[in-house]
């Protein structure tokens, strides 16, 4: 079955420290990969995506993600966390048919000052 796993419900980091939000997927072929962020009572905002090419993708607000095909992972990273980064983060992967996105369950990032 096709699926996306975000193994951590919550990630806690101190402001200024690096952060990682993990994502692994199980989809055949060469799927496209996305990260979205959701602030309280808001819709989802696009952060970045991997389509092809360089495995390190840079996105909005200083975030980046590394695609690892052998480990089927697409972890979100940021070198120095801000309190304003606190939000709910979703990883998404295109399904095998290329017709829709499969979303993970989300990871709440909490950055303390």
């Amino acid at each position: 079955a096709q699926s996306v796993a975000q193994p951590e419900d919550q990630v806690n980091v101190a402001e200024g420290n690096p952060l990682t939000v993990k994502c692994t997927y199980s989809v055949s072929g060469n799927p496209y990969l996305f990260w979205y962020v959701q602030y309280p009572n808001r819709g989802l905002q696009f952060l970045l995506k991997y389509i092809t090419g360089d495995n390190l993708v840079k996105g909005s607000y200083g975030f980046e993600a590394e695609f690892n095909k052998s480990q089927t992972s697409f972890h979100l990273k940021k070198p120095s966390a801000l309190v304003s980064d606190s939000a709910l983060y979703f990883c998404a992967v295109t399904n095998q048919a290329g017709t829709a996105l499969i979303f993970g369950k989300g990871t709440t990032l909490s950055v303390s000052s």
Binding site: V4, P31, Y32, F34, Y36, N41, R42, G43, L44, Q45, F46, K49, I51, F90, A92, T94, G98, T99, A100, L101, F103, G104, K105, G106
Partner: protein
């Protein structure tokens, strides 16, 4: 900037009522989507549309229908609302230039529906 708007931020309906959720996008996007978001379950696709008057079932279409009479508008209809349809409903749109799979989806602010 892409703007996706949803007709209501909050709705309270009674069991058995017919409910309409409206979504409008202003970027001339071909693709539009309806998701529901529930804690611990992430987003699940209800229906999507890749063209006017076209629709495709997503993962959880039961109890829902959709309408797309104009390119910019995609409506989600709950024919007879039930309490298990209490949820956050998110609409999204994307360009059709590179196919559904590659294009970024842009989301509306969501409608929080409570069915009593």
């Amino acid at each position: 900037d892409v703007k996706v708007t949803q007709s209501s931020r909050y709705l309270v309906k009674r069991t058995g009522e017919k409910v309409f959720l409206e979504c409008v996008q202003d970027m001339d996007h071909e693709n539009m989507f309806w998701y529901r978001q529930d804690p611990g379950l992430g987003l699940r696709l209800i229906y999507f549309s890749y063209d006017v008057k076209m629709k495709e079932k997503g993962d959880i279409p039961e109890g829902y229908s959709v309408s797309r009479e104009k390119k910019e508008r995609f409506s989600l209809i709950l024919e007879s609302a039930s309490t298990n349809q209490t949820s956050m409903y998110l609409c999204a749109s994307s360009s059709g230039l590179a196919g559904i799979s590659q294009e970024t989806q842009y989301f509306g602010p969501g409608t929080r529906l409570l069915v009593l």
